[in-house]
Symmetry: C2
Subunit: 406 residues, 2 copies
């Protein structure tokens, strides 16, 4: 029997308990031993819930119990999660987390401690909910040099963009819809402004390149500036707008990383990733293109990933599972040098704008969308962020600018 402690009895914590109860028998077979939840740490009371028997409020009880071999941190936030996980590792207990902030900020350090102690620090659930992506990156794509990771990593924004596209909703209505469905929080900033995706792509990039990618260094743009008019243009071009989190190694070996809405067409493997689903596209120099798809959030899919980590840690109680993520910082390409094609909308009538636009961008074609007047829309050639910003500054009344990967 392997005793574990679950830190936090919120949505994911209660999901972990539920999954261990539901599939306990087959999980024991795969782990090679019965998994027993000895403690659940939470400040709240849960009257009538059988978890009450295991509930403790003091983390030291867990820390000082030598029977506890694994702690499962599903509280979220940096503190006290960081202190708890670090002290657990230092006290000879493996640690599992679903906490993307913790992993993005302290992943390299916690992995180093785990390795020194011959323990494990696992975090499959921190990116892509239930989708297996951390373990495949660490253990399956080991023959490859990764040249691109692009993910739709946030279910809330993907749901909003899907609803805007399918039902013709504007952003605010689609957001309210997402909130009423329980897909968006009352304060949706971390999702809609791209910070959630940013932390997740920082984690994936650090694993892919084996060096620390700081999320603060990643250019991050959310979806709050995407309007129903943009969606109409996307439709006119048979395209969709998705919030992409990318890190790409270019020919010169330098990596750039960014989170931004992207227009894509049906030939892109992530085109069909709709609603709250996530998809992660990986390109290797040998394997070519692979894609992983599934539920990026939700109580049970996320708990499934946490429990898969519990099984893996239980099978490797005295063997560190090698993960290459050095604390050495990866210097990213300056965003100014990153190049894309752009979709641009300028306010005014085409006749009076055309000369100026052609002077700046060449003889671009004017794009029309159903029922949209009083503006000129077009696609640029491939330009760096520096070039586009310089050109844009010379145009009056730019309504929107969206990167394009056609």
């Amino acid at each position: 029997m392997i005793n574990i402690a679950v830190l936090g009895y919120g949505t994911i914590g209660s999901g972990v308990v539920e999954v261990l109860n539901t599939n306990g028998e087959s999980i024991a077979k795969r782990a090679g031993d019965q998994i027993n939840i000895k403690y659940v740490l939470d400040r709240k009371e849960f009257p009538g819930d059988p978890v009450m028997e295991k509930l403790v409020k003091d983390f030291n009880i867990i820390l000082e119990d030598p029977e506890v071999k694994l702690v499962v941190e599903v509280m979220g936030g940096i503190e006290p999660a960081y202190t708890f996980v670090k002290s657990a590792l230092l006290n000879g207990k493996s640690a599992i987390t679903s906490n993307k902030e913790l992993v993005a900020k302290h992943g390299a350090e916690l992995l180093k401690i785990a390795k020194e102690k011959n323990l494990n620090f696992l975090f499959e659930a921190s990116v892509g909910g239930g989708i297996p992506i951390i373990r495949p990156l660490n253990q399956s794509l080991t023959a490859d040099e990764i040249v691109e990771i692009t993910g739709i990593l946030n279910g809330t924004t993907n749901y909003i963009l899907t609803k805007m596209s399918e039902d013709g909703l504007d952003f605010d209505t689609a957001l309210k819809n997402a909130q009423s469905m329980g897909y968006a929080e009352r304060n949706p900033a971390a999702d809609v402004e791209g910070q959630d995706s940013c932390r997740k792509i920082a984690i994936l990039s650090s694993l892919a390149y084996g060096m620390q990618v700081d999320y603060e260094d990643i250019y991050t743009e959310g979806i709050t500036h995407i309007t129903d008019i943009d969606i109409k243009y996307a439709k006119a071009m048979d395209a969709r707008i998705k919030l992409f989190a990318s890190s790409i190694r270019e020919n010169d070996e330098k990596v750039y990383a960014m989170v931004a809405p992207m227009m894509i067409k049906a030939d892109h493997p992530l085109y069909s990733v709709n609603d709250v689903f996530n998809g992660i596209f990986v390109r290797g120099n040998v394997i070519g293109d692979v894609m992983f798809y599934g539920s990026g959030a939700g109580k049970l899919p996320t708990a499934s990933a946490v429990v898969a980590d519990i099984v893996d840690a239980a099978k490797h109680l005295e063997k560190n599972i090698w993960t290459i993520w050095s604390s050495k910082k990866l210097e990213l390409t300056d965003i100014k040098q990153v190049a894309h094609q752009f979709f641009i909308r300028v306010k005014g009538d085409v006749a009076s704008l055309k000369d100026k636009v052609w002077e700046l961008f060449g003889e671009v074609e004017v794009i029309k969308a159903d029922g949209v007047d009083g503006e000129m829309a077009f696609l640029t050639s491939v330009l760096t962020e520096e070039e586009i910003n310089e050109k844009i500054s010379k145009l009056p009344n730019v309504l929107n600018m969206i990167r394009v990967r056609f």
Copy 2:
């Protein structure tokens, strides 16, 4: 330094050598040690190829060299592959294979020997080429009871069906096209008659349910009966025809498995898996739906999966990686009891056929396709194979019958 031997210097074998040369440095970092190919076994000569230095023709040289820790079997076929792999394991060497016939037939036995000897028998490349699916099933989806695996597991047939759909080709022309592109062999029977997919779904099912699924027990239907007329009807219904290899656990806990062309619509996660790509959809009772997508064949993608196994085996030289696949046979549901909706085409004119069809199938709607006359096409309700066969036997001149998952 870890010495390995590669058995077979054909497409995949030379790919493995190429990948180890190209990405040697990062592979060594991930394996924790340099991987050195000490021997390559092949009966042929390769004048001018640096591999000549390592070439041997007698497997016993490899078997008796205690320095060789891993053998990599990429010859294909049952013999001598089975004898080589088994004797390698019995002589204390871990074994890796890309050979689906070998794994489908002898997987349970070879895994048992590996476990008893505290070695590993790994076979990621045997299904889905480069797509990580074996390792995720064994190590990532461990919190779940798998309730469905459905894959597009054969690139050749998927390419043929895609070309028929996109370019309006008939089967023979699309097959010749696939042969000229090098995607189909001169004798394409194993692909187009579904046997390749059958062996692969047998392997995935054995891993998902932990018991032996014999490929001989799996109902297998190829794509040779799919015509350009069927594709026209599929288009009229906004559907596509894909060769599905499925195993599904039904409510009564029994599993059925089948390989057959299937009509699906855009809401199915495998709808966008086109050309030579493969996709594998997995449904778990906790994780919900996940999908894995990538190149299902080809020299480098397949070699990438083989080398990932080499890395994993190198990291676990003295630790068996637990795989649950007992030799106990899983009794599959009798195919007669499996139920689907069916698309049916009957020769004759609608006016004279309608009464008979309605008598057998109820008041079904007649489906029309562009430029197709002289036949009546319709969708049935959900019927078992036994029921459909009985009804079909009462209809004269049935032109085709394709299962439907709308």
